[in-house]
C-alpha cells in the first residue's frame, strides 16, 4: 500500500491525493458528454504520471476492460437507432456517444482511486488525522482494516487449501457449490470473531477507546502547494457541478 518515498504523490500531504480523487470523481459525474469526460480522463492519467504513480493508469485497465466491453456491446451495438457506420459496424449513434462518455468517466474515477491507493501510507494518514484532532476511533478503523485485509486474505487462502485437502469439491451443479460455501466461509468467520475477542481485550487494556487526542511525533508537512492544489481541485469540482446544473 505504501508508495516509494521518491514519488511526488507520496511526498504530498496525505489529504491532498484524497481530496484530488474525490474532486475527480465529482467532476466525472458532472461531465455531460464524451469530450468533457475524455478530457478529464486524459488529465487524470497525466496527473498520475506526473505524480509518479502512472502505473495506476495501467492497473485500472484490469477492472475497466470488461466494463468498457459491455458498454460498447449494450449501448453501441444494441443501442437505439439511428445508426452510423464505424469501421464496417452499424453502431447506435446515441449509444456509442453514451458508451464513450461513461467509459471515460469510469476511467477517470478508477485511475484516480488506484493512484490514491498507490500513494496511500496508513501511518502518514493516521499522523495527519491526529494532527487535525480527528477522532482516534475513525482513523484507527481505517488503518486497522487496511492492515487486517492481507491477514484475512492469507487466512482465506489457507482455509480454502485446507478444505480442499480434506476432500471438499468445489465443482458440480449450483446446489453442490452452494453447499460448499459454508465449510469455506465458516472457519474464516469464527476465526474473525475469536480475533475480535482478543483484540477487544488488548485495546481495552491499552485504554484505546478512552483516547481523545494524541500528539503525533512527526506529522506530515502541509505545504502551501498542497493547500493550493486542494483548493484548486475543490474549485474545479464545484465549477463543473455548477456548469452541469446550469447547462
Amino acid at each position: 500500500m505504501t508508495a516509494r518515498p521518491a514519488t511526488l504523490a507520496s511526498r504530498a500531504h496525505p489529504f491532498t491525493p484524497l481530496v484530488l480523487t474525490l474532486c475527480i470523481a465529482i467532476t466525472a459525474l458532472a461531465a455531460a458528454g464524451p469530450l468533457e469526460a475524455g478530457v478529464l480522463y486524459a488529465v487524470t492519467v497525466a496527473l498520475a504520471v506526473i505524480s509518479g504513480v502512472g502505473r495506476a493508469a495501467l492497473r485500472a485497465l484490469v477492472p475497466l476492460a470488461p466494463l468498457w466491453f459491455f458498454l460498447f456491446l449494450l449501448h453501441g451495438v444494441m443501442g437505439e437507432s439511428p445508426r452510423i457506420d464505424v469501421a464496417g459496424l452499424a453502431l447506435s449513434e446515441a449509444g456509442i456517444s453514451l458508451a464513450l462518455a461513461q467509459a471515460a468517466r469510469l476511467g477517470a474515477i478508477a485511475t484516480a482511486s488506484l493512484a490514491l491507493s498507490a500513494s496511500f501510507s496508513p501511518a502518514r494518514f493516521i499522523d495527519a488525522a491526529a494532527e487535525r484532532r480527528w477522532s482516534f476511533a475513525a482513523s484507527y478503523l481505517v488503518v486497522a482494516t487496511l492492515l487486517a485485509l492481507p491477514r484475512f486474505r492469507a487466512r482465506a487462502a489457507a482455509i480454502l487449501d485446507a478444505q480442499r485437502s480434506r476432500g471438499l469439491r468445489l465443482r458440480g451443479g449450483p446446489l453442490h457449490r452452494l453447499r460448499a460455501i459454508r465449510p469455506v466461509t465458516f472457519p474464516l468467520l469464527l476465526g474473525a470473531l475469536a480475533e475480535v475477542d482478543e483484540r477487544g481485550f488488548a485495546l481495552e487494556t491499552r485504554c484505546a477507546a478512552g483516547v481523545t487526542a494524541r500528539t503525533p511525533l512527526a506529522p506530515p508537512v502541509d505545504r502551501p502547494a498542497d493547500r493550493v492544489v486542494r483548493w484548486l481541485a475543490i474549485g474545479g469540482a464545484v465549477c463543473a457541478m455548477a456548469w452541469r446544473v446550469a447547462g
Binding site: L74, L106, A144, T185, L190, A192, L193, D197, A209
Partner: protein
Amino acid sequence: MNARLLALVPAAIAINLVVGGLVNAVGLPLYLDSIGTILATVLAGPAVGMVVGAIGQLLFGLLYGYQWIPFGLIQLLIALLAGAAAARAGFRSTGRTVAWGLLTGALAGSLSAVISYILFKGVTATGTTAVVTLLRHLGWSLPAAVTASSLALDLVDKAVAFVLVGALVRSLPGRMLGRFPRAARALGR
C-alpha cells in the same frame, strides 16, 4: 465507541472484502459482500453495521476504484433491515432468516437496479451485466433487463448471506453471546 466495537468493525469490514474472493473460488455468481455488515448489525446493532458498510465501501473504492461508491447506499439499507430482523428475532430459525434475507434481497435489488440504470447505464459487475446483455439480446428493454438481473442476483445473494450469519450466530458459545447481548435478542433468547 468501546474497545470491543473498535475490534469488531475492522474484522467485519475485512470479512465483507474477503469473502467475495472465497465465493469466486466456489464458482458461484454471488457477491456475499454484506456478510460483515449483517454480522456486525446482529452483534452490535444497525449503527455499527452502517459504519461497517460505509467504511467498507470507502476502502473497497480505494482498492478497486471509487466508481462503486454509490452502491454503499445498499450496505446502509442492508444494515437497517438486518437491524430490524435482529430486533424481531429474525435469526431464531433458518426459515425466518431466509424470509428476512429474501425481503432484504428484494429491497436491495430494487435500489441496486436504480443505481445501476441511472449512474452506470446498466453496466456494473461482470456477472450481472452478462445477464443484462443476454436479456437485451432476447428483446427486453434496458430498464427491465437491469431490474430483473439485479433482483434475481440480490434475492439469492442476500438470502444466502442471512442464512450464513444466522447459522454462525446460532453456533456461537454462550460466553461470546454474553459479550454481545443484541445477538441473543436476534436469536429470540
